[in-house]
Amino acid sequence: MDRALLRQKVLLDHLRPAAGQGTSITGEACATRAGDSGDDVVVVAAYRTPMCKAKRGGLKDTLPDDILAPVLKAVVERTGVNPKDIGDIVVGSVLAPGAQRANECRMAAFFAGFPETVPVRTVNRQCSSGLQAVADVAAAIKAGFYDIGIGAGIEAMSVNPMAWEGSVNPQVEQNLKARDCLLPMGVTSENVAERYGITRADQDQMAARSHARAVAAWKSGRFVDEVIPVATKIVDPKTGDEKPVTISRDDGMREGVTPASLAKLKAVFKKDGSTTAGNSSQITDGAAAVLLMKRSEAHRRGLPILGTFRTFAAVGVDPAVMGVGPAVAIPAAVEAAGLEIRDIDLFELNEAFASQATYCCRKLHLDEEKVNVNGGAIALGHPLGCTGARCVATLLHEMKKRGKGCRYGVVSMCIGSGMGAAAVFEQSD
């Protein structure tokens, strides 16, 4: 009998539909394989150098332009694109003095074999500079300024420390937000941990996981496709001897890190705090580059497509808890792509601090198995300007390895002084 009632109800609904039910699917509707057009901006190649600890790691004696040049070279050499076809090279860089770094990047382009006709510029949105560089190139391609561009990132923290030049504006006394911009990042991490209840144990767990995943990724050769070895020299600190070496592995990750071993570390930024060196990202040298072009151009050249750039969003948040940036930026970028967060299959969420990364994962209900599957900045390092581009490379290569099941990926990071950025990529297999 209830069957009959159900059938009646269904039929009646056809005649007297409940007003505007609409669909709950905002839809992968438009972001689909079928929606690929020749005008999409696609990533054709993405490579990175190994991420090495600043001042002590493999790239400590390498000049910034020598870190950047190999990846610039690799993106054109390995794809066979003629360097003179590149319309622009945009390099994210944060700590170095602007004019000097811009010049170094230009020089790096020359070292990499680019002709003088290829322009170079830098961009600085703090931690997201590498991603911003990629987004800027994508936007310029869409705007028609050129067809092929390279978005890159470089940071040589062995050479450029974090520093503040000159005096601080006395107005910060009156303006809380401006004052909060001056907070050390570690203090913002403690603020996030306190405000949102992220415990020391949570943070250590994420840190241990990051290390374990990075170690496992290297063991299984997961990074081999994206890492460009850098031939450089190492100067022995004690003797001053120079030795030529080729750095081809990240050296930040550590095997055997467990929450128990991390628990021994002391909090650094606040008495009885929870942020330690073990659950913060490392200070690192590294560079990465991403080659972007229009899909029609890629087809014309017969180049395989690593992924499609879909959307980018940069948002602002409270500087005192800058770590929450991704929790706001990811929904913005995902929505702009016409998707929902549950549609995203893979995330590269920069682990500036385990506190903020854990908070963002919880806030957005992200599946742990989809976030930083090959380790994150806690294990690999966070070379500020490079990170965005490095995450793009890692994300796209991992998505490619996962194949058809992995369609959408997101790169996101928090930004000091209270911002967040995120970009959505699609794998077009």
């Binding site: 159900l6 669909t23 709950s24």
Partner: protein
């Protein structure tokens, strides 16, 4: 053209892909709400439409489809969730040949793959779509992503693995059998979508008919916006079918008791023809693949009409 009177309310009609003069009609007692069902197989003879054979079922039948590889195999969708397979050549006691009982709710739609010819789909009110082959004892795949009843499933005429489904959750979903999930979900209407079909001559175009009385044409390459919206029905659109012979021609039937023919490429005069021969909800519609212009329709008024496109069905 002749009329056939069924004993029960008609729900679905399908021309045979092998014989120009044969068609199957699925009917249910008491408008399909409760009661038995009957599957008719009708023959078009110079003397009118005659019943070749009929099969009775315990619960109402909502749709039927012919096999593409065997002219005697017919499949019916039943309200008790079963999919019944009939063999016309077998003796009555052996019929139904098979009864697939996996759906937990009414099976509302069936479609046989015209490219691969050995598999067919069933769409059900239990929100799932199942892929079947006669050789297998159970379903081969279940596609369960819809949030509400699946009203129609339709294979892509050009690609063996692609099909579309229309559901009460207001979305159209395109599926690829080779993929674990649907490849495209179009929030096509604001209300339930009752029908969908593919353009036989353009594998990227499909049409959807909805409770909101509109018919929308979609191109899967740009699914954000419909290509065209056809308005003209005054009640929910129950079935839409692309003509097998003309790329632009669409036939639709609706709860407003009328059938319409549309040319979706014509911007102003999309509505070509309106047939008002039914006196109850027009729910069954088919266009013959073998005879250009031959159409059949059935409705809750217990009638089956077969006519040539340009002519008046009542004559």
């Amino acid at each position: 053209m002749p009329i056939f009177k069924t004993a029960y309310n008609g729900y679905g009609v399908k021309f045979s892909p092998f014989l120009e003069t044969r068609l199957a009609v699925a009917t249910s007692q008491n408008f399909g709400i409760i009661g038995n069902g009957r599957q008719y197989v009708l023959e078009l003879t110079p003397q009118g439409i005659q019943e070749l054979i009929s099969f009775d079922t315990r619960d109402g039948l909502y749709d039927c489809t012919w096999s593409e590889e065997n002219e005697n195999i017919l499949v019916s969708a039943s309200g008790d969730g079963s999919v019944k397979v009939w063999d016309l050549a077998a003796p009555p006691h052996q019929n139904p040949l098979k009864s697939f009982e996996e759906h937990s709710h009414e099976v509302y739609s069936l479609d046989w793959n015209t490219v691969r010819r050995d598999v067919f789909l069933s769409g059900s009110w239990d929100d799932s779509i199942k892929l079947w082959s006669l050789g297998a004892p159970g379903s081969l795949r279940t596609f369960a992503e819809h949030k509400y009843c699946v009203y129609t499933v339709a294979w892509n005429p050009a690609h063996a693995d692609i099909f579309a489904s229309a559901s009460g959750d207001c979305t159209l979903r395109i599926w690829d059998v080779r993929q674990p999930h649907s490849t495209l979900a179009i929030p096509a209407h604001e209300f339930e979508i009752l029908a969908c079909d593919w353009n036989k001559y353009n594998d990227c175009v499909l049409v959807s008919g909805s409770v909101d009385k509109t018919i929308k044409l979609w191109d899967v390459r740009s699914p954000r916006e419909p290509m065209t919206v056809l308005q003209g029905h005054t009640y929910a659109v129950r079935r839409v079918k692309f003509s097998p012979h003309h790329a632009n021609l669409i036939a639709s039937c609706s709860y407003d008791m009328s059938l319409c023919l549309w040319d979706y490429q014509a911007p102003e005069d999309a509505l070509l023809m309106r047939y008002d021969h039914h006196t109850e909800f027009a729910v069954g519609l088919d266009l013959s693949t073998l005879v250009d212009g031959l159409m059949a329709s059935t409705a809750w008024d217990e009638t089956v009409y077969v006519w040539q496109q340009g002519q008046d069905p009542r004559l």
